[in-house]
Symmetry: C2
Subunit: 257 residues, 2 copies
C-alpha cells in the first residue's frame, strides 16, 4: 500500500481551502476539486495542481479517498451521486452521523476539529482529526490520513463526535459571542475596548493547565448578590444580554453544588 | 512631592497579595497591612517588611495612600473607621460607586482589571488600572500610582467603571464557565478533554486582531437548524446547559441583524 493517497476534494469552502494545501504539502496527490460553482473549484484546484470540476459524474473513480467538505445538508445528496466510486468516501461534519453515507461500500468520517477562517493561517498539524469508518479497510485509510495530517487524532463513534461538537460550540462559538457582547458593552459606553484584552488573555492562560471549573471567579461564584443585581440593572435596556447574565449566573451557582 | 508613596494595604486577599509585592518592587513603601485575621495580615506584611495590624484604629494616619482591597460589602464600614486619616483612601472594586467613600476628605477608586488567582504569577505592568477621585489632589496621587504600576491606565467615572466590570464578567467569568461546561460535556462522555484545547487557543488568537463580532462562526450564525436541533437533543438531560445553548443561539442570531 502506497502511504500517499490520491484524494478528491468535494467542496471548495473554508475547510477544503485549509485541508487541500496541507495535503499537498505532506505529499498527497489532490487530483480533483469539485464545487457546484466552477470558479470556486478552480481557485483552489490551481493551488493544488488539481483538476476543477462542477459535475460529480466527472469524479475520478479511482482515487483512494473522497473528502466531502460541504454544508451538512448537502452531504446525503453528494453521497448518492458518488455511488460509483471504489475508494473511501468520508464526510467532515461534526454532527452528521456516519450512516448518511451507508449507500456506499467504503465510507467514514474525517472531522478536523477547528474554527476555520478565510484568512487565518493555521498549523494543520495542531488540528485534532476525529475519524471513524464502516469497515477495517476504510478505517485503516482514514486513520493513516488523520495521523499523517495531525499530531492529535481520535477514533470516536458518531454519538461521541456529536457530543464533542456540542462541546466545541460552547468552547468556541459561544465564548466568542460572549466576547462580542463584552465588546458591545464597552463600545456603546465609549470605553476603550483594549482594556479587557489582558483579562481575556489571562483567562485563557489559566485554563491551559487547570480545569476551567477550578478557575472560576467573580460575583456569581462568590454569591455576591449586591454586585450581580447592580450588573443586571446596568443591562436593563438590553434584555437578551440581561437574560444571558441571569442564566449564566444561575448556571455557575448551580455548578458549585 | 516625593513620587514614591507610603501605602497602607487594607485587606490581605488575592488582590492585596498581587499588589503589595509589586508596589514594593517598584519602590513604594508599604508600611502596614491590615486584616481582621492577624495571621493573614502577617503573611503578607512579612513579604513587604510592613507591620501587620488587625485593628483599624492602629492605622498609620500619615500614609499617602490607603488601598482598600476587601469584599464590596465591607468597604463602607472600613471607610467609616478610616475617617481620621489625611491621605487618599481608594477602594479597588469594579462595581461599587466612589461615593461610598464620601465621608472622607480625599478619596477615589483604584481598580486593577484582572482575574487574580492565588498561585498564578501575573505581570502587574500589564494589568489595566482604572482610577477616579473626588478632587484634584487625590486624582493626581491615584493617577501617578496607576501609571507607576501599569502600562495601561484609564480615568473612568463610577458608571463607566461598572459597565466595564459587567463587560469583564462576560469576558472572563462567563467564558470560563462556558469552558467548564464544554469540559463537563466531554468528561461525562469519556472524551479526551485535550481535543478542544487547540480550538480554544485559535478562538483566542482570532480575537487578538479582530472584533469578536466579525469572527463568529458555527451553526447558530449559519442558521443551521438541523445541527442546533441535534445539539439540543444531545443536551436533553442537562436542562441548564440546554437553556444556555438555546439562549446563546438566539443571541447570536439576533446580533446578526
Amino acid at each position: 500500500m502506497n502511504d500517499k493517497y490520491k484524494v478528491v476534494l468535494v467542496g471548495a469552502g473554508k475547510l477544503a481551502n485549509h485541508l487541500g494545501p496541507h495535503l499537498k504539502k505532506i505529499g498527497h496527490d489532490v487530483v480533483q476539486v469539485y464545487n457546484k460553482t466552477l470558479s470556486k473549484a478552480q481557485n483552489l484546484a490551481e493551488k493544488l495542481s488539481a483538476d476543477a470540476i462542477d459535475d460529480l459524474r466527472n469524479v475520478d473513480e479511482n482515487a483512494d479517498i473522497y473528502i466531502i467538505a460541504v454544508s451538512d445538508d448537502a452531504i446525503a445528496q453528494i453521497a448518492k451521486e458518488l455511488n460509483f466510486v471504489n475508494g473511501v468516501v468520508a464526510h467532515t461534519s461534526g454532527t452528521t452521523g456516519m450512516e448518511v453515507l451507508s449507500g456506499l461500500d467504503n465510507y467514514g468520517v474525517f472531522y478536523p476539529l477547528q474554527t476555520f477562517s478565510e484568512n487565518a493561517e493555521l498549523d494543520m498539524h495542531q488540528v485534532p482529526v476525529i475519524y471513524e469508518a464502516n469497515n477495517e479497510h476504510a478505517l485503516s485509510k482514514l486513520r493513516h490520513l488523520a495521523m499523517d495530517i495531525s499530531n492529535k487524532t481520535a477514533f470516536l463513534n458518531s454519538d461521541e463526535r456529536k457530543q464533542l461538537h456540542v462541546s466545541a460550540v460552547f468552547a468556541n462559538n459561544f465564548t466568542n459571542h460572549l466576547w462580542a457582547v463584552a465588546q458591545n458593552i464597552l463600545e456603546r459606553n465609549n470605553i476603550d475596548q483594549s482594556l479587557i484584552v489582558p483579562l481575556i488573555n489571562e483567562t485563557v492562560n489559566k485554563i491551559q493547565s487547570n480545569p476551567a471549573k477550578n478557575m472560576q471567579t467573580g460575583p456569581a461564584l462568590r454569591g455576591d448578590d449586591t454586585t450581580t443585581n447592580e450588573h443586571l440593572l446596568a443591562l436593563k435596556d438590553h434584555p437578551i444580554q440581561k437574560g444571558i447574565y441571569e442564566l449564566l449566573t444561575h448556571s455557575i451557582q448551580n455548578s458549585k453544588l
